[in-house]
């Protein structure tokens, strides 16, 4: 097991420090140590995308990031997408468009979709499907998820 390692990182704009074992994933620390349970564990080997977070602006499977690798990095999780008062347009569109059923994959999809729209505000259907193909959903068949992202993109364009 060895000694615990000290890690300094930034999560959702806040400076955070934690102690972890070398074998712990960042997902495990997020959920169990920091009680940010929005990121979900679906497979723990990088295949389902339910644990997606942004690491230095890039979507990653947090189950594949070692907690020690978090040192010095900046993270955004699903918990940071809404403001204190308002849901993000993606969240609104997921709800209005019924883009979730059981909801377990939703945090990962929202984080991946936000990364997509941050970089490419008007993606085509093909681009949306490509960028979201690392996130598995077993309930919706993806139709309503893709449409929610399309609608959010339109809404965000109108606001600008």
């Amino acid at each position: 097991m060895g000694k615990k390692i000290h890690v300094s990182t930034t999560i959702n704009g806040e400076a955070v420090e934690f102690l972890c074992e070398a074998r712990q994933s960042f997902l495990e620390v997020l959920r169990d140590t920091l009680t940010l349970t929005g990121a979900k564990e679906g497979c723990n080997n990088g295949n389902c995308g339910a644990c997606t977070v942004l690491m230095n602006g890039v979507p990653v499977d947090s189950c594949l990031v070692l907690a020690v690798e978090a040192d010095g990095a900046e993270f955004e999780t699903v918990e940071s997408i809404a403001t204190e008062e308002h849901l993000h347009p993606l969240q609104e569109c997921f709800l209005e468009g019924a883009a979730l059923q059981c909801g377990i994959c939703t945090p990962g999809f929202l984080v991946s979709a936000k990364a997509l729209l941050d970089n490419q505000p008007e993606p085509t259907e093909e681009e949306i499907r490509f960028e979201l193909s690392g996130n598995l959903c077993r309930c919706t068949g993806y139709d309503k998820i893709v449409r929610a992202v399309q609608t959010a993109s339109e809404r965000m364009k109108e606001v600008k």
Binding site: K40, E96, I104
Partner: protein, 766 residues
């Protein structure tokens, strides 16, 4: 409107004039689920919580000679170790657990193996420790001595005389009503139905098609692994936080496996990350409970993903032989089906629904069906969305398509000619009430998708129909009317896909108030009346019915209050559209709520229902696809699902069920399968290698909702959740045939299979 969530075309019943039903409110639990705040089973945090891990068998069939846990127990950080020795002896007890009888010895031996392991991944022992890493280290220290036994994974092989027996002394149940066979075998059930004279009818038929089909084991593939937390208090009270499709069922199963009184067990349902039938049986709850009793702390177990694939119940692999005869006009005259499904390690699979579904879309006078459930060394199969129906629909719909081709008839016309309708007598006996298959077929035939041309090489279009029952079962609900005109609704149905809202909408419609004025809560087993599982497409139907009954009770009580205000008889108070009235007096629901406190106090209402029987759901799917003849890869180009929903309460979630079921069916048809080596080891227990559809694999799924009201529900609701998985493999196989000239009789139609079929048959283009 620039925004387009692309709502389904809805073919409404002309009498329909509902105010709330058919609208699309935001689900009540929505904000929690898009902000990451919703609490799923693995999100449960408790004081003193410890974690556990499961030791699984490396052998697919072996006798357990000994288990030595002493080193694991001594490992630093380990708090408790358990094996089946800690479970009570259950003998041959069978318990009736709401949705059906369960052999408790089998249920317990599947949670932790007793004497024998029956499949690779069978749970053998469990360790609770300070954290899951320590627990896993300790698993490596448990010494299990196995005596390997011959492994059998194929149902047809397992049926042969002299095949190694999984359960010595297993006597086949002859169903229905036939007692037991005399000689032990691996066949747990033999279902048989017969009517008329199939031999003569086949003899007289104009065209007869006979084909054999196989399908492989597939998994429900929910994204959330099974997880459970248990705390066995010093007073003997056991609390379980579970990811389950039925908290009352989980309570009964846990109580029976551990032989503790049901009143000592409370199950708190967490949000559930998908189930599709796979989260009805308990796997972890009794194990976590025993560990908690041993170490005095709450114990959480979450399965690993390979544990989910190897240790929980997928749907069976199958072998099917179908023979169907038609006369010159295309009328089906005779049908024969011989079906063998593997149940996996223990008896009791889904062959029953298989035999009842195989001819359920058609009116066939002479029919003969034999179906077998066969034990093999694979995980114990469990329900998966319309369990048993997708297999047979793939087979029968392929044969119907071939008949249409031989008759030179449009495939929908052939189905219309033979479609089951009100009054059709099913092969298993009962007669259909009002059903909507004809309307659904007609809507498919008139759909733009079906009428538009499909051009280009290696492209084909296919159609298929599908059927599933809706079960009734028991549901309860309690409501508290608040002074501000809102209603708090307690119900016991795990919400897998928006049912809090579809149930609330039915109460809102009854009370004439907005859906947002209902505040639904899924309550634990101590806080709401008995409610059966979320399954069988029953929740919106049956728990919805409980909500309607609650609404009627509220109205009746509130009429009494209005009568007090107006000094009249309650019987003279009328209620309609959310307004109470009597002669010149009238008061809205909300206004009267504000007066409840001064007219006798706030109101509580409750209802418990047990609707009799089940109704029926039919769907028809149309699929266009293109086959890459170089690689064998099938690309779905366009897909339309049509279904009779009775009445779509929240159309978005009905569409969602149809789209999600379609894509699960597409995965089953094209890629998903358990691959086993000769030792019975699953070769692909990851979500990379067990290849479920991604967003990039499928197109948009268009939907058409047909509303033929169900006569046995006040709003005409039919269950919609399961039927949509049934037609896709048949529709896709028929489209592949039209694209390539090749009829694929084995699932999945994966690139290697399609490619080698093309190689064998020449470069067939349509």
């Amino acid at each position: 409107m620039s925004e387009n969530f692309n709502h389904a075309q809805i073919i409404k019943d002309p009498e329909d004039n509902y105010k709330i039903l058919g609208t699309r409110p935001v689900r009540h639990d929505g904000v929690d689920k898009v902000t990451g705040r919703a609490v799923y089973a693995n999100d449960v945090q408790l004081q003193g919580l410890v974690e556990a891990a499961i030791l699984r068998s490396p052998e697919a069939h072996a006798r357990i000679l000994s288990i030595d846990t002493s080193e694991a127990e001594a490992h630093p950080g380990v708090l408790a170790v358990t094996t089946s020795a800690d479970f009570p002896d259950l003998g041959d007890k069978v318990a009736n657990l709401g949705e059906g009888p369960v052999n408790l010895a089998h249920l317990a031996a599947n949670c932790l193996a007793k004497d024998k392991v029956l499949y690779k991944g069978h749970a053998v022992a469990a360790v609770a420790a300070q954290n899951v890493h320590i627990a896993r280290e300790a698993l490596d220290l448990i010494k299990v001595e196995y005596e390997p036994l011959p492994v059998i994974t194929d149902a047809l092989e397992a049926m042969k005389d002299g095949a190694p027996l999984l359960h010595e002394g297993l006597l086949t149940n002859l169903v229905p009503g036939g007692g037991k066979a005399e000689t032990p075998s691996n066949v747990s059930d033999h279902h048989h139905f017969k009517r008329g004279d199939t031999e003569a009818a086949f003899e007289a038929a104009h065209i007869v098609v006979e084909r054999e089909f196989t399908t492989q084991t597939v998994h429900q593939g929910y994204i959330e692994p099974h997880a459970a937390t248990a705390h066995w208090n010093q007073d003997g009270q056991l609390t379980v936080w579970a990811s389950t499709q039925g908290s009352f069922s989980a309570r009964e199963q846990t109580s029976e496996v551990l032989q503790v009184p049901i009143s000592k067990v409370k199950v708190i349902p967490c949000e559930i990350g998908g189930g599709f039938g796979g989260k009805i049986p308990v796997y972890l709850e009794p194990v976590a409970a025993v560990l908690s009793r041993k170490c005095g702390r709450p114990v959480k177990i979450q399965m690993t993903r390979d544990g989910v694939f190897e240790g929980t119940g997928p749907t069976p692999a199958s072998f099917m032989r179908i023979k169907l005869g038609v006369d010159e006009t295309g009328k089906m005259t005779a049908g024969e089906a011989w079906l063998a499904y593997d149940t996996g390690a223990f008896p009791g699979g889904v062959i029953g629904p298989g035999v009842m579904c195989v001819f359920s879309c058609y009116d066939i006078e002479h029919a003969n069906i034999d179906g077998y459930d066969v034990c093999v060394n694979k995980p114990w199969t469990k329900a998966y969305r319309a369990p048993g129906s997708t297999h047979v629909a793939y087979a029968i719909e392929s044969v119907v398509d071939e008949l249409a081709e031989k008759l030179e008839m449009d495939p929908i016309d052939l189905r219309l000619l033979n479609a089951a309708r009100e009054g059709t007598k099913r092969v298993d006996g009962p007669v259909y009430p009002r059903i909507g298959l004809i309307e659904t077929l007609e809507a498919a035939k008139n759909h733009d998708h079906y009428k538009s041309p499909l051009e280009g090489p290696n492209r084909g279009r296919g159609v298929a129909a599908g059927f599933w029952f809706n079960i009734g079962l028991k549901s309860a609900a309690t409501a508290h009317v608040n002074a501000d005109g809102t209603v708090t609704l307690l119900e016991g149905s795990t919400d897998i896909g928006g049912t809090r809202t579809s149930i609330s909408m039915q109460l809102a419609e009854t009370l004439g108030i907005a859906a947002e004025d209902i505040n639904p809560k899924v309550a634990d087993t101590d806080s709401v009346g008995y409610t059966d599982i979320t399954g069988g497409s029953r929740v919106t139907f049956a728990t919805g019915l409980a909500a309607v009954e609650v609404g009627k009770d509220i109205i009746s009580q509130m009429k009494g209050r209005a009568a007090k205000l107006w000094e009249c008889e309650a019987a003279d108070v009328e209620f309609s559209d959310g307004v109470f009235s009597q002669e010149d007096n009238s008061i809205s629901f909300k206004e009267l709520c504000a007066k409840l406190n001064t007219t006798g106090g706030l109101i509580t209402a409750r209802a418990s229902v047990d609707p009799q029987g089940f109704t029926n759901g039919f769907g028809v799917h149309i699929c266009d696809l293109e086959v890459d003849v170089e690689t064998g890869k099938v690309q779905i180009l366009r897909y339309t699902a049509l279904q009779d929903a009775g009445k779509a309460i929240h159309p978005s979630y009905v569409e969602g069920q149809m789209q999600g079921g379609s894509v699960q069916g597409i995965g089953w048809a094209l890629n998903e399968e358990y691959l086993f080596d000769e030792k019975g080891h699953m070769l692909n227990p990851t979500m990379l290698d067990y290849r479920m559809p991604t967003a990039l694999d499928v197109p948009m799924i268009d939907t058409v909702i047909i509303e033929v009201p169900n006569p046995s529900h006040p709003f005409g609701v039919r269950g919609v959740g399961e039927t949509p998985i049934v037609p896709p493999p048949g529709a896709i196989a028929n489209a592949v045939k039209n694209a390539t000239g090749i009829r694929m009789t084995d699932l999945p139609m994966s690139p290697p299979r399609v490619h080698s079929a093309i190689m064998e048959n020449g470069n067939g283009t349509s």
